[in-house]
């Protein structure tokens, strides 16, 4: 059976082959970012009533997981931060271009940035501050500009952007993927245009790599250097569709695939697997930090350590939890390896079994974000009205009682459903991995570990919410 290709759909293929399609997708998010900056800096500093906090912490995150679940990494495709590309091309005329250090050409730097970002999120209560949220947006644009100006295109997305890498990791469960329509055509392709770019000059077709300054119609290739016939995974794919436009043979497909199953066959590098594992435990922590047992734990830890320094307490909880998670994962993966008769290194064991964390990580974040999005989705209407009113536009009085999309008693069953689906996809990944080894008990060991983690996550999600910025209650 031929795999359905979304680019064969009427209008869809035509739209994405159009050279300004990405720009069209980026403009709405740029306008959202500009309004968030305006309201974040100038509007009322109350998170539920400010466009910056509502759009970023509620709607951006909610739509992001929804888009990933339904289609793919659309938010990287529509990323307004890549609109710095025009100014950076200008800046590159005057600035030297550096190579991204070889030691950082992996996901470890992004892992460190993600950990710092999550710590900052909790410590400075970014979710509660429109002003800091606006600074975060502005800072993000600034870093994107600097990295894009000084390093090759694609460096920021692949090696620096925590948001992009979050999207890459979660989109491994998406139901679509870029692929070659006919791999034979790629074998005969003389220029590998999908990765090297294409320029149609009066003297003929060339790659942008060999003729970067040639005059003619230009089609950039993949910035994160993915070669279409070798793509196994959505990791590092921004869905920019450069490959679709650069391929002169119309040989790139945006194919449908079984969602949540990529991790069963993809061979990720160990740094990528660690990113997936970390995102699960970080997602758990992010949800845990909103329930009473977290604050009780912080109080006990405060008594134990004899300090009320929130940075120290938060760091301790973060390090203990993620460290415990990584340590347990290492141990369980090694045990599964030993049971199946394989005596590989611990890292190889994690690389083999740890891929099951990808659907679990998606489910953890999706369950948490779905809660916030569904409890407050309609609040975007009054906050947008308020921000536009502040700009002097006649948009009517905001109705602040607008909020929920679904009845509150639906939320927990929905979260349970999302986590069960995640566990189901993870168990498929483990089953396939165990079948490779012809040893199902090994897969069962890792599945039991996952089952316990999901049970723990469900316990956290079942707790009453406590939306508190202060870790410890005032004495």
């Amino acid at each position: 059976m031929r795999t359905p290709d979304l680019l064969r759909l009427p209008l869809v293929g035509r739209f994405f082959r159009w050279r300004y399609s990405r720009f069209v997708l980026q403009v709405p998010l740029l306008l959202v970012a500009l309004l968030a900056l305006y309201d974040g800096f100038m509007g009322r500093q109350l998170a539920p009533k400010n466009f910056a906090t509502v759009s970023v912490w509620l709607h951006y995150r909610g739509f992001l997981v929804l888009a990933i679940a339904v289609l793919g990494n659309l938010f990287c495709a529509a990323c307004p931060m890549m609109l710095v590309r025009g100014p950076t091309r200008f800046a590159k005329r005057f600035l030297p271009e550096f190579k991204w250090p070889r030691a950082l050409r992996n996901k470890y730097f992004v892992i460190a940035l993600t950990l710092f970002y999550l710590f900052a999120y909790e410590y400075w209560d970014l979710w509660a501050s429109p002003w800091l949220t606006a600074w975060l947006i502005l800072g993000y644009f600034g870093v994107a500009f600097v990295v894009d100006a000084l390093f090759p295109e694609g460096t920021f997305c692949k090696y620096v952007c925590p948001l992009g890498n979050f999207n890459f990791t979660l989109s491994t469960v998406s139901p679509t993927q870029i692929a070659a329509r006919d791999p034979e055509v790629c074998l005969r392709c003389e220029g590998k245009y999908c990765v090297n770019g294409r320029v149609e000059t009066p003297s003929g077709r060339k790659t942008l790599k060999e003729a970067p300054n040639a005059e003619g119609l230009r089609f950039p290739g993949c910035e994160t250097k993915l070669y279409v016939p070798q793509i196994q995974s959505n990791m590092d794919c921004t869905l920019c569709m450069n490959c679709v436009r650069a391929c002169p043979y119309d040989n790139v497909a945006w194919k449908l695939r079984a969602p949540g199953t990529e991790a069963a066959w993809a061979r990720y590098k160990i740094d990528v697997v660690w990113l997936g594992v970390l995102l699960f435990f970080a997602g758990f922590m992010n949800a845990f930090a909103m329930v009473p047992p977290y604050y009780q734990l912080a109080e006990r830890l405060s008594e134990l350590l004899g300090t009320r320094n929130e940075a120290l307490l938060l760091s301790t909880i973060f390090v203990l939890w993620t460290g415990l998670g990584l340590f347990l994962t290492l141990g369980v993966a090694m045990l599964a390896d030993r049971v199946s008769g394989v005596r590989a290194s611990p890292l190889k064991a994690v690389r083999f079994w740890g891929t099951g964390f990808f659907p679990l990580a998606f489910a953890m974040w999706a369950g948490h974000y779905a809660f916030h999005f569904l409890t407050g989705w309609a609040s975007i209407i009054p906050v947008t009205q308020q921000a536009l009113l502040n700009l002097g536009l006649p948009v009517g009085e905001p109705d602040w009682t607008l909020a929920a999309l679904v009845p509150e008693n639906w939320l927990y069953p929905l979260q349970v459903g999302i986590l069960y689906l995640g566990l189901l996809a993870a168990s498929y990944v483990l089953f396939r991995r165990a079948r490779e080894r012809n040893h199902f008990l090994a897969g069962g060991i890792v599945f039991t570990y996952f089952f316990l983690l999901v049970a723990l996550a469900l316990w956290v999600l079942a707790q009453p919410m406590e939306m508190r910025g202060t870790l410890l209650l005032p004495q």
């Binding site: 509620l58 909020a403 939306m467 005032p474």
Partner: protein, 116 residues
Amino acid sequence: MRRLFLLALVLLSACRPKTGEPLEAEVRFVPEHPTVGKAEICIEVDPRLELTRVEVVGDMTHAGMIPVEDEAHPAGPGLWRVDAFDFNMRGDWVLTITAYDKQGKKYVKEVRLTVP
């Protein structure tokens, strides 16, 4: 250009929102430290202010929560009371007390508290 950019940064970092006409009021709760559930809010203002209406809106510090809205009733000279304000969730609350005088002038006071 660089100077303009730096100036813009300084101005942006200085941007803080205007809170409007401040309301001089003392706000007390019964019980003194409210927990999840209903609590009484007493708002004491200068009686010479001649207020006609006092509204209390409670927001949580996280985006997306429905605000709790209530109206205070007069309970003596300069004293306004909300009998059963619904603190429906644990966490950080921001109460916005908005008062109007006879001339329709608006006064605002913000009170932050943590509901354990």
